[in-house]
């Protein structure tokens, strides 16, 4: 999965990450690997309980109490996040890594003017005077799409719509000039038209500032719109990873295929829709081998033993041992 072409732009490398909750006997994230570079958006797509958000939090060194790293490595801009102490992590967050969460209202302080919240973040991470921090906040408000930024500086979060609040959260995340932005379902609480404008803003930031983004989402349509590459997670495993268009058009893992056939689209009628049989595994269940095997129509007995993410084609990887079956189904319209 290592891509030599991006070695010099490499920002993030996650290898075989395992996360464990408190006293539970089994890991919730069971060997996740992921790369991200400057200038690209990498998506982590999965359903609830897939471990996508925990993986993202682990990258920022922000695991909830009780969740620990049970194995694997995380390197962000040459900093070993797993071994780093609290001081290194504090410096990493803000200066190297910015975070954007799902609910903008809970990420903001309701009693503080939005400009000051951005200025405080700038002060915390940079060597700025108060007036410089204020100027920086106004500049950031303009950057994230506020017309009349100097006037909007004095507004409170409750005076803003959900989309504008999310822009403020993005401005705060950018205040320390991070090179990597971690976004956890940043548009899930927003309407479709607002979502589109936030995705456009994030795409602009990648292009203009040369940052990298890791984008966690449950919505493959949103991922298709913004991500250059997608890693699909199921039950704590990355089951497939690759360039967005390739992965969505010619999936190499039966779970990705099943998900794609379960999504209602405007060009397909209901008879083309296929539900995935069974239910996702419960947390803490022991899952030898591929976690999707019990629901998979292509599974064979060997799928219940060890699996690993293996490279396929030039630029993709899959954890499915029967990926050649899917490759054989791929149409002749290679582009």
């Amino acid at each position: 999965m290592s891509r030599p072409d991006v070695a010099d732009r490499r920002l993030l490398s996650v290898r075989d990450l395992r996360l464990r909750v408190g006293g539970e006997a089994h890991d919730v994230v069971r060997g996740a690997s992921l790369d991200a570079a400057r200038g690209e958006v990498v998506g982590i797509a999965g359903e609830s309980g897939s471990g996508k958000s925990l993986t993202l939090r682990a990258i920022a060194g922000l695991l909830p109490t009780g969740v620990t790293v049970a194995g694997g490595d995380i390197e962000v801009d040459r900093v070993d996040v797993v071994k780093a102490g609290p001081q290194t992590l504090r410096k990493l967050r803000g200066a190297t890594v910015g975070m954007v969460f799902q609910e903008p209202m809970t990420a903001l302080n309701p009693t503080m003017r939005i400009g000051r919240q951005i200025a405080e973040a700038a002060l915390a991470h940079g060597d700025l005077s108060r007036s410089q921090a204020k100027a920086r906040a106004i500049e950031l408000l303009e950057r994230v799409g506020f017309p009349e930024p100097a006037r909007r500086y004095r507004q409170f979060p409750h005076q803003l719509s959900g989309g504008m609040r999310q822009r403020v959260v993005i401005a705060i995340a950018l205040a320390g000039n991070p090179s990597l932005l971690l976004c956890d379902e940043p548009t899930t609480a927003l309407d479709a038209t607002v979502t589109l404008r936030i995705l456009d803003l994030l795409t602009d930031l990648v292009r203009d500032l040369g940052i990298g983004i890791v984008f966690v989402t449950h919505d493959l349509g949103v991922a298709a719109r913004i991500c250059d590459r997608i890693a699909v997670m199921y039950a704590g495993q990355v089951v497939e990873e690759g360039p967005t268009a390739e992965l969505l058009r010619r999936p190499r893992h039966p779970y990705t295929l099943a998900l794609l056939r379960a999504v209602p689209t405007r060009d397909r009628d209901i008879d083309g829709l296929r539900a995935i049989p069974g239910n996702p595994p419960q947390r803490g269940e022991e899952l030898p081998g591929c976690a999707f095997a019990p629901r998979c129509e292509y599974a064979e007995p060997a799928c219940r033993s060890e699996i690993e993410l293996v490279p396929v084609d030039d630029d993709r990887s899959t954890s499915c041992r029967r990926h050649s079956v899917l490759a054989a189904m791929a149409g002749g319209h290679h582009d």
């Binding site: 479709a192 969505l248 058009r249 209602p264 009628d269 209901i270 064979e300």
Partner: protein, 281 residues
Amino acid sequence: MTEPLLEVRDLAVTFGSGRGWGGDRGRIHAVRGIDFSVRPGEAFALVGESGSGKSTTAKCVAGLQKPTRGSISFAGSPLDPARNREQRRAIQMVFQDPYSSLNPRMTIGAALVEILRVHRLAGSRAAAVKRAAELLDLVGMPRSALDQRPRAFSGGQRQRLGVARALAVNPSLLVADEPVSALDVSIQASVLLLLKRLQRDLGLTMLFISHDLAVVRQLCDRVAVMADGRIVEEGAVGRVLSEPSADFTRTLLAAATDLPPLDLDLDLDQDHRSPKRRSTR
């Protein structure tokens, strides 16, 4: 042309008194006088973004919200806010959140039996239990669910149970308010397929509330697009999605995130199934 089952005329809902701080500015016009009708056997969608008034309209139809103005008639007779038992039975609702729409303290069987008894649809307790079991068959749940409480079920299963609860009293109209938007993608499809099957098998009339045009495309015959409390466009689903006439519909369509088409020949997989499956053929 058949008579409409549901007819909504000049429906308006205003929240807040307009007195006190802010005066008239404190008043929120959620629905600003809309008209639409639903024919028997039809699936009619109200589509819009948050704040468009679609859910408020659904609540008025289901009798959970009092209109400020306008009329709703059902099967030819006007529906008053104070409905009689028969009118309450005839219109049932499926809610968005499957986790908060079932009583956590009651077993599924007890909840279904209670509804049947309240509406006097079962002569005896035994008849009610029998009908409850049939309802579970209808929504594709095992009969063992009768003795279990909601916490034993996943979101998709709870939504099936919510549908069973709504269908228990043989409604003529099912109001479904975003019934799949709280569910994971892999679960959504099974609930959509269930609703489609009920439409086909029972001839169920549906008022379907959604923000998702792709979902509406799967289930509905006609659609009304709402924005800011008004209906901006109405028509057959195929026509509205392919040739929208209102600017707002075009904006909504442009914002819909779509997936590229699959480039896999799914028929080919017959020969590549796992050895176990092939041998059973």
